[in-house]
């Protein structure tokens, strides 16, 4: 498919156009480099020994590659007072992100479906109000939410964090799915009604399978948001229940002992790896989903 889309472009030929093309690629290359250098520095630093870091320059590649820093960041780095590495916190993040992404995506899909295909009085008002949720600065709700989690008995726990992320993710997931379903023909839903399917029957058997592009976009978006979140994590969890972002901060900011840059870098990469993986695996869908208006049944 990729090959075909390139073949289909008619290009002008000639010296002038070739020069312009070279210039174009040079500029693109420069931007690429600018973007990638920090990542390259992080990776190369994480593969150096402390010794080498102290002697060499920041930009030089590692003379001898060692994975010691990675091992330490994973299982022995000190997070606060405990020195078990990032592993338990990565696990916390997984336990928190997976349910929060799943629940908020599912509810968003249901909201979008109900708002577009079972239109009721006030549907547009409700949608406008939900959208409002997407623009709330999260600092504003920290204190009331902390109080509420306390009342619910979820203060300082992972389920509490899941709850918060689900609630605040709904605005976005609803928006994504609503816009996707606006483009889905009502006729299909009508046919299913005549065929005897119920609200949920239509949702699970017809609508959800059709909305794969929207699901992928929403999952990527929610996963990145929730996995990378720091504010809610630091505000609503304590010590053992911290997500990896908070733990990373604690690793990097320990004031005791020497600063182990290689371990810090490895830890940062570990914390960022899952979101990277999600992009690589589902990236093709992400791009396709963004132009989902063009996807027909």
């Amino acid at each position: 498919m990729r090959q075909r889309s390139i073949d289909g472009i008619v290009r002008p030929k000639g010296v002038h156009h070739s020069l312009m093309r070279i210039l174009l690629y040079a500029v693109l290359g420069l931007f690429c480099l600018y973007y990638l250098i920090p990542l390259i520095v992080m990776i190369s630093t994480s593969l150096k020994s402390l010794e080498e870091i102290r002697q060499g320059s920041l930009l030089s590649l590692p003379r001898s590659v060692t994975f010691d820093a990675w091992a330490k960041a994973w299982s022995a780095a000190c997070v606060g007072v405990r020195c078990n590495g990032l592993a338990p916190y990565v696990w916390n993040s997984v336990l928190m992100t997976a349910p929060a992404v799943f629940i908020s995506t599912l509810l968003g899909a249901m909201n979008g479906y109900a708002l577009t295909k079972w239109r009721f009085r006030g549907a547009d008002t409700i949608f406008a109000l939900m959208l409002f949720g997407a623009f709330i600065p999260f600092q504003v709700i920290l204190l009331p939410m902390a109080r509420m989690l306390g009342l619910m008995g979820l203060a300082g726990t992972i389920p509490g964090l899941i709850f918060v992320h689900t609630v605040y993710g709904l605005a976005f997931t609803t928006l994504f799915f609503r816009n996707f379903f606006m483009g889905v023909s009502d006729g299909i839903i009508q046919a299913a009604k005549v065929d005897g399917a119920s609200f949920f029957g239509i949702f699970f058997r017809l609508v959800l399978p059709m909305s794969l592009p929207a699901i992928v976009v929403t999952v990527i978006w929610q996963f990145t948001q929730i996995w990378n979140d720091f504010l809610f994590g630091v505000a609503f969890t304590i010590g053992d229940s911290n997500p990896v972002t908070v733990a990373l901060n604690n690793v990097v900011n320990t004031s005791t002992g020497v600063k182990e840059y290689n371990v810090d870098m490895a830890a940062a990469i570990i914390a960022a790896l899952p979101t990277l993986a999600v992009y690589v695996i589902a990236g093709a869908y992400f791009v396709r989903g963004l132009s989902a208006g063009a996807v027909k049944g």
Partner: protein, 371 residues
């Protein structure tokens, strides 16, 4: 035993725009009613109301003995073919067809038999494992038909189900639908723009215009006895010739065409039966309706009592195969005569036309009503 459908002063308003303007219609059990009317007159909306996909603004709908005003579509025991096909894009043709049976928990073997039967009938048996996206428009339309037919509900609603098929397939499907209706005896409401489909399938035809039903009767009456100009002009292809003129009373009654430059005025004598019925005064403005088949070459049919012969030059000749259409001009209006191909002459030659005035209809020019 099938259920009838009863509509009582049904109205539908879409945001201030009244689309259905008070329709009363009683459809007998087992009837095949064809709805015809110009685009945008509310045919699909009316079907949606019967199906329960739109809510009534006012009025009542009964299916069988039950008032279904507040019954959701899935409890109405109907099947519908949508104008837009509305196939399920993620399901195979087979699953599209059986979806309604799956939701109603029909046993697997019964589903398989039904798919077998109807996919053969609709000539889609080789497509069963494809997705709708991989089908042509005509194939999709047949799948949509299959989805409605397999369920054998009390009432069938068809919204232009054959519009996208080629001529040959359309005729085959038309015959199959008729056979099927005779075999199952279920009530059906069928929307079409195709005159022949309407005439051949219908037990009764309802002619709709702008949210009203103008006439509801058996096909012969709609064709031979239209209540007004609209119905007369809508049914028939090519359409009825409409000639404006004035009533002239003398020794007998005539319709006189207006005088135009370079043409003699024509005076169409009205047959006694018609003249007796019309009380309009001398000079009253009327429209004379003559179907193309009632105008032919002089002497080409057996002589009758009420014939009127006149001469006009031929403007255009349109052969259709079995008949040839001849277009000519009377008082600035193009008229069409349907003649045998061997009687046709080339354009430009003067031609003697014979009109069977027994088959002519007379309408009031102002109200459009039949006189």
């Amino acid at each position: 035993m099938a259920s009838g459908i009863k509509l009582q002063s049904v109205r539908k308003v879409f945001g201030g725009n009244e689309v259905i303007k008070g329709i009363d219609l009683v459809i007998q059990p087992g009837e095949f009613v064809v709805l015809v009317g110009p685009s945008g007159c509310g045919k699909s909306t009316l079907l949606n109301l019967v199906a329960g996909l739109e809510t009534l603004t006012s009025g009542h709908i009964h299916i069988g003995e039950i008032c279904v005003d507040n019954v959701p579509p899935r409890d109405r025991d109907i099947a519908m073919v949508f104008q837009s096909y509305a196939l399920y894009p993620t399901k195979t043709v087979r699953d599209n067809i059986t979806f309604g049976m799956q939701t109603r928990k029909v046993p697997k073997e019964e589903q398989a038999t039904a798919v077998q039967e109807f996919s053969k009938l609709l000539q889609i048996n080789t497509l069963l494992d494809r997705k709708p996206g991989q089908l042509s428009g005509g194939q999709r339309q047949r799948v949509a038909m299959g989805r409605a037919l397999v369920r054998k509900p009390e009432v069938f609603l068809f919204d232009e189900p054959l519009s996208n098929l080629d001529a040959k397939l359309r005729i085959e499907m038309r015959t199959e639908i008729k056979k099927l209706h005779q075999r199952l005896g279920k009530t059906a409401v069928y929307v079409t723009h195709d005159q022949i489909e309407a005439m051949t399938l219908a037990t009764r035809i309802a002619v709709m215009d702008n949210g009203h039903i103008r006439q509801f009767d058996v096909p012969e009456v709609i064709y031979e006895d239209p209540v007004d100009l609209f119905v007369a002009g809508f049914m028939g292809s090519p359409p009825m010739n409409m000639l404006t003129g004035q009533i002239r009373r003398g020794d007998r009654m005539y319709v006189e065409t207006p005088s135009t430059e370079g043409q003699d005025q024509l005076r169409f004598p009205l047959p006694g039966r018609l003249a007796d019925r019309v009380s309009a005064a001398d000079g009253h403005k009327v429209v004379l309706g003559i179907r193309p088949e009632a105008i032919f070459a002089k002497g080409s049919e057996l002589p009758g009592s009420e014939r009127f012969v006149f001469e006009r030059p031929i403007d255009v000749v349109e052969p259709t195969g079995p008949d040839t259409m001849i277009v000519f001009d009377v008082a600035g209006t193009d008229l069409i005569a349907r003649v045998r191909p061997e009687d046709a002459k080339p354009a430009g030659t003067p031609f003697l036309f014979e009109v069977d005035m027994d088959r002519a209809k007379l309408f009031d020019a102002k109200t459009g009503l039949r006189l």
